[in-house]
Symmetry: C2
Subunit: 309 residues, 2 copies
């Protein structure tokens, strides 16, 4: 069970929980619960599981359920839990949505349908897809607009989705020039799409807040620092938000450009939150030099992940 | 259980079995068995399940097993069964390979690892991936070289995979200029890679046979006609093979350019082999005009799918 999502959208930081593996790549559900507990303590406004930063592309269907169940049980309604349910098949995504709702998830996040580099769905097909995945379900849906999907989500299509599929009330924009896209979406979709968020490790957070995002779906690296940035911004202290964000930017920028999803695991393992920083092959391993540089940046920012355990 | 694969590779036609759905998109395992029976009767040298032309990207893990089990049971060792086991995660693909071997599949087909349009694996990562998916398994592996994966498989890498991973003894090449790539692979890989095949609905079959492919992994549309082409070619009757292939080319070319994986289902449903031509959304539906043109071409070629039932 998780907390409900406010009608006006989520505000703050909505970190992605990494999927925790042991050194042999098997699921570590104890570590998964520790990550959820850490993220609640860090002041997260919601927790997202099974995202791409959770290596969802490297999980079996059965493992997806285990991760979701462990997280919902551990969070126990303290914050909303968001679960990624994307699949090319509308039937499979709808079934995952129905199941997530029944288990107590607060929101689902769904990419435009695609497969590989070449299977792209035209605009009418995308609209039909989202109608199907929402059909008959009382659930909040967040569109995920990421370059990983070769199926594009231009502003007019997102606005149309928000208008014609009532469950679509949120969108995470993580493309080049997110701020401009967020401004265009506010103009085109208005109240149909109250929840606008960014991603990409929050490396464009202040420009995106200026454009109108309410929250950032970051990694689990420094959620406490990003929560503070968004809180200051929403309290009217833009200068304080900028100062806090610029202080953490070298770290999240290093994460974004040098490490990707491995960064959060490295910090959480170094801090003893989880037992192993393992990712599933063939996800590229991080070399010792990069790991040390990342940890140096994290230590100098006093990252909670390093001192929480 | 399925028949074994000859050491020197498969010769003939290795059609992909579509995954059969009812009109409500649920699995039709009776129809799946009928397709397997049809393909055996059509003279297939092997049957491939769970390929991209089987909409594997629209199946749950549980459904994959049901399709594989129904096909293995129906085929009952009369021909080899090939099963696609591709996943980004080497761990998952190895587990699928182990399971397929245990259930009696003769061969697995695996793409280079990728996710979406952007998650590409470098060459050393691809080599490590194939070592892992084959690790400790006495199984025949067919590389699938298709543009759907953004991770490239250049000739030197395929040759290296065949040399360093003994289970990799087959490759299906389905890229622009397959014939030239097959020639380059014969020169680079030699006896390490006896099984070279093409795909793409066999629209380049004669040039590919001239280059050295032993078989074609076609769709289930006109396997009997393609089996005859390959048989004539291997019997030394190249002129007869060309004549037979050119006769069927307008149909398979129409399939390739206008219909994709839907074509085989349309013929099989029209002929009463299966009860529904349904594909899972958002795969694009074929309009009535296209359907009629396809069927006209199939009738004029006396397609077995239309008269087998």
């Amino acid at each position: 069970m998780s907390a409900a999502v406010p009608r006006e959208g989520l505000r703050g930081v909505l970190p992605v929980a990494p999927t925790v593996f042991r050194d042999d790549e098997s699921l570590d559900l104890h570590g998964q619960r520790r990550v959820a507990e850490f993220l609640v303590d860090a002041g997260s406004a919601a927790i997202c599981v099974l995202a791409n930063f959770s290596e969802q592309f490297s999980l079996t269907d059965a493992e997806r359920l285990q991760v979701l169940e462990a997280t919902l049980d551990q969070v126990a309604g303290r914050v909303p839990v968001i679960v990624t349910t994307s699949s090319y098949s509308a039937r499979i995504t709808r079934e995952r949505n129905r199941d997530a709702l029944q288990r107590g998830a607060a929101m689902v996040m769904v990419m435009a349908p695609f497969f590989g580099a070449t299977m792209v769905v035209p605009e009418d097909g995308v609209l039909d897809y989202f109608r199907r995945v929402a059909d008959g379900l009382d659930i909040e849906i967040m569109l995920q607009d990421a370059p990983m999907s070769p199926t594009p989500l231009p502003v007019p299509l997102i606005a149309r989705l928000a208008r014609e599929v009532p469950q679509v009330r949120h969108a995470k924009i993580e493309v080049p020039r997110t701020a401009a896209k967020v401004r265009a979406l506010r103009a085109a979709a208005g109240d149909d799409l109250p929840g606008l968020y960014d991603g990409e490790e929050a490396v464009t957070l202040v420009p995106d807040l200026d454009a109108g995002v309410l929250a950032t779906m970051s990694s689990a690296t420094v959620p406490e620092a990003l929560a503070a940035v968004v809180a200051r911004y929403h309290a009217g202290d833009r200068a304080g938000a900028v100062e806090a964000w610029e202080r953490v930017l070298p770290l999240i920028h290093y994460e974004n450009r040098q490490c990707g999803l491995a960064a959060a695991k490295i910090l959480l393992a170094e801090g003893g939150v989880i037992g192993s920083a393992r990712t599933r092959a063939p996800f590229p391993e991080i070399g010792p030099r990069t790991r040390e540089e990342l940890l140096d940046l994290a230590r100098s920012r006093d990252a909670l992940a390093l001192r929480w355990a």
